[in-house]
Symmetry: C2
Subunit: 150 residues, 2 copies
């Protein structure tokens, strides 16, 4: 728990650093790109769990999800990204920006689950991947239910 809080603060602190180098509209674009690319890779893992289990494809997909999750996306929630900027729409609820420590905790839960998913995939253990995939999806949903607009 201490660790989660510490990570939450880390995620929060990142906002003040890297985001300064990236325009708010680009922060929204990049965070959407990250979630979109993770969605493709989660879909590939699901397809492998439901059908023929291609270990190489699952490992590659899980590595991409874990690396994107661990890339410091907290930096893409900087000042000015709380609402739409021109044609660049955001589905993040404004409340998220008033609860950055909570957002950081949810992000930390997701990072940990994605890392477990990548580890399970690296072992080529389908049952472990199935379990870790479900746990990762649950951390996605936890944040979507709380901070994503319908």
């Amino acid at each position: 728990m201490k660790k989660l809080v510490a990570f939450g603060i880390l995620a929060l602190s990142l906002v003040g650093t890297v985001s300064a180098q990236v325009k708010p509209e680009d922060q929204i674009k990049y965070r959407q790109a990250g979630y979109s690319f993770m969605a493709w890779n989660m879909g590939k893992i699901k397809a492998n769990l439901d059908g023929e289990f291609n270990v190489q494809q699952v490992q590659a997909a899980a590595s991409a999800v874990a690396a994107i999750a661990g890339s410091g996306m907290g930096a893409l929630y900087g000042p000015g990204t709380e609402s739409d900027i021109g044609d660049r729409k955001t589905r993040v609820k404004p409340e998220a920006f008033q609860n950055m420590a909570d957002l950081g905790k949810l992000a930390t839960d997701f990072n940990a689950a994605a890392a477990n998913l990548a580890n399970a995939a690296a072992k080529g253990d389908k049952a472990a991947v199935q379990k870790a995939f479900g746990e990762t999806g649950a951390t996605c949903k936890a944040c979507h239910d709380k901070y994503r607009l319908d």
Copy 2:
């Protein structure tokens, strides 16, 4: 060279498999998301090379670039993704789809360079990261010059 050709054929073969599970318009969306997220991470590495070198941030960014590069994006160049689909515009030149083996070779060069970049970052060697970053950027440019619309 044999290896590059083999990878080219692998990248090509992926198009026939995974893409079948993803609608053409989503294949375009996901490939654009992957390139966009890599661009953010390449930008972070450049900022670290030009300014204060934060090893953790460079390692996280290089891992994301390498994992996305290695995630089998060849599957996102499937049939029907050669041109715009409604509002979903693509900047990939039609010629790319008539030269999939060449596209596969360029992708393989990029994957190898991105893997080297991640390895250099893992060692925390700024000079090696600088060299690998330049080599990775060159493989990006090689494909953009040949197959990306201005």
